[in-house]
Amino acid sequence: MAAGGTGGRTYSFKVVLLGEGCVGKTSLVLRYCENKFNDKHITTLQASFLTKKLNITGKRVNLAIWDTAGQERFHALGPIYYRDSNGAVLVYDITDEDSFQKVKNWVKELRKMLGNEICLCIVGNKIDLDKDRHVSVEEAESYAESVGAKHYHSSAKLNKGIEELFLDLCKRMMETAQAEERLKGNGASQSASSRRGVQIVDDEPQATPAGGCCSSG
């Protein structure tokens, strides 16, 4: 499944945003990709699919962020959304205990369905409302650690912690992709060929003796 870039120069990653309604998922991505918050005059047509191009230590990364419908009646559709994703950003609202519970449920489901292939981020949003905090920092952080996820604190309103969390996530996804590539053997050209007799034909004698594609240079 190499959704992460093969070839090693440009990586393409799919990241799904999960979390209860009103925790600030949409606000987070809009802040991250367009640096906008709750501005009624924004020109953005939609905030459900956004992309960001990054350059991390000389490697290009195309990040595609998929918003998901958070309403309960759409819960069953989760697997359709998150299949083949490289990362998940699980958002809760620090003033809302229930939303943290929801995150725990998502983590369970994702680990069950996708195993450790997916990089998980747990994000406590709205830290500008710290006086109303209902989820303790220690509890959240130790939970995240226990499930192999990273924990971040953010505020879409104040633009805090957002760049960091996505940058971090990208780095982790790159590591995962590189590890996968190494497993496959260097160079992806060997991958999965000639199952079922479909193969890339190598030079057969032909009118013009053109070199094989890899012999150039």
Partner: protein, 510 residues
């Protein structure tokens, strides 16, 4: 007249139009020329089998021609003109292809009629399809069909020409692949998909070497490869007979029909169709998603979904005045799918999943919209009372047709042809106007018919009534021949004798 009774529900489809033309009682499908799947199979399996064989023979033939074209286009530019495939004499023998294309053309016609069904007061006004028997493909149709495929082949050759050496390599690989696939007609859909996906993967990996890791260039080439290969393979791998895709299509189609009563409010869609731009967006979105079925290349199908989604985003943005999030988008898409009932929805979804270039599906924007379409289809399949915030009883009553929510909440329902409170959208206003004119015409025609009929009745009864009058008169004044009492002038009459003698001329002196 029928216009009268069917006018209220703009979306109403006459049941008899939906039934299999063979009269077996099952539903027919326009894609099968009005037959049900069983009758269609019986009638056409044999023919189709032969078609498939002929098609493969043809594909190989085209392959050789194309090689020649490729070689000559590399050699002399002028020569390539002579091998240009358009009015090729060899295409007189393109029977099977054109038949296939004909089915496709019918699908296009169906697309139009489906859209019409939304607006026409009676589905009976939709053009009737010809029966398949005794239908000879018109030369123009077959020419266009082969032209399409040839055009794709030619475009591909032209595209590869600019790539120089990698172009030759790609051309060779694709050719070998298509020939290879022609020997695998009997494989199941998953295996076919795997073959194609393996091919994409291997070729993309190879190209990575050529383009020194520039994934943009590789993507660009892979798009062309997909277009070429899938145009060639489409007819044998779209809704293949080894699968029950077709059955799923019918199930979905019927399911959506059964859900005709679902309103925009139940789905909590944030699109206000009272706003002219929004209702325009909605109509366009419906058209786009229906159009998907008429495309052959997975990426073109994706393009239709993306267009549809963009219309939805505009509609939401106009309504809410803020960018649409997934929570706005998905319900709206579900609503559009319910309204459109896109032809062969499951087949199209499966075809895209199986044969689309994976990088598009997994991370691209098109992939996001496609995923949402998959979600919409899954939601519709599983939809129950809870998903619409209804009580199970209500849901049952709506499903069984015992009650209709439309009667209570007609406001904002654009499918209704009743005069709206205020003309909202020029298109809708025009539509309403047309509907009024049509119903006016129809009532005038009715009056005319009535008048004509009474005239006919009058004419029929006229001789009778005349007869009766004559009889009456005759009865009243029976014919009696009186004795001859009247004297004739020229009789030698005795009375003459009583007359004075005739005057005699007199001469006067003077």
């Amino acid at each position: 007249m029928s216009q009268r009774t069917e006018r209220r529900g703009g979306i109403h489809v006459d049941q008899s139009d939906l039934l299999c033309k063979k009269g077996c009682g099952y539903y027919g499908n326009a894609g099968w020329l009005g037959l049900c799947s069983k009758c269609w199979r019986e009638d056409y399996q044999r023919v189709r089998q032969k078609q498939i064989q002929d098609d493969w023979a043809l594909a190989e033939k085209l392959q050789r021609e194309e090689e020649a074209a490729y070689a000559s286009s590399h050699g002399a530019q002028t020569q390539s003109q002579s091998t240009a495939p358009q009015p090729h004499p060899g295409h007189a023998s393109l029977g099977p292809f054109s038949k296939f294309e004909e089915k496709k053309t019918n699908e296009k016609t169906r697309k139009v009629t489906t859209v019409k069904k939304f607006f026409s007061p009676s589905s009976r006004t939709a053009p009737k399809k010809e029966t398949p028997e005794g239908k000879t493909p018109s030369p123009s149709v077959s020419r266009r069909a082969s032209f399409d495929t040839d055009q794709v082949t030619k475009d591909f050759a032209d595209f590869l020409k600019n790539l120089h050496k990698p172009g030759r390599e790609i051309q060779k690989q694709c050719r070998a692949f298509i020939v290879n696939m022609s020997g695998k007609k009997d494989l199941g859909a998953d295996e076919l998909s795997e073959c194609v996906q393996d091919f994409y993967q291997n070729l993309a990996d190879r190209l990575m070497g050529h383009f020194k890791g520039s994934s943009e260039s590789v993507e660009q080439v892979m798009d062309q490869v997909e277009k070429y290969i899938m145009t060639r393979l489409y007819k044998s791998v779209f809704c293949p007979e080894t699968t029950d895709d077709e059955k799923k299509d019918l199930a979905t189609q019927n399911r959506i029909r059964a859900l005709h009563w679902v309103t925009i409010e139940m789905l909590c869609v944030s699109m206000d169709e009272e706003i002219p731009e929004v209702s325009e967006n909605v109509v366009k979105a419906i058209t786009d998603v229906i159009e998907m079925d008429s495309k052959r290349v997975p990426r073109d199908k994706l393009g239709c979904i993306t267009h549809c989604s963009k219309q939805i985003f505009s509609a939401i943005r106009t309504t809410k005045n803020e960018p649409a999030s997934a929570d706005d988008f998905l319900p709206a898409l579900i609503y559009i799918v319910l309204k459109a009932n896109p032809p062969r929805l499951q087949s199209n979804i499966l075809y895209i999943t199986r044969f689309c270039n994976p990088s598009r599906l997994m991370t691209g924007e098109d992939g996001y919209y496609f995923t949402n379409l998959c979600c919409a289809a899954a939601f519709i399949e599983k939809l129950d009372a809870q998903s619409l915030n209804l009580s199970p009883e209500e849901f049952e009553r709506y499903m069984s047709g015992q009650a209709s929510p439309r009667c209570n909440s007609s406001e904002g329902d654009w499918t209704r042809a009743e005069p709206p409170p205020a003309p909202v959208n020029p298109v809708l206003a025009q539509l309403n106007h047309n509907l009024e004119v049509l119903s006016g015409l129809s009532s005038r025609q009715e009056t005319l018919m009535e008048a004509a009929q009474s005239l006919q009745a009058d004419l029929l009864s006229w001789p009778g009534s005349v007869q009766r009058e004559v009889d009456d008169v005759l009865a009243k004044y029976p014919l009696e021949v009186p004795s001859r009492t009247v004297s004739a002038i020229d009789d030698n009459d005795v009375d003459n004798d009583n007359l004075p003698p005739p005057l005699t001329p007199q001469v006067f002196a003077g």
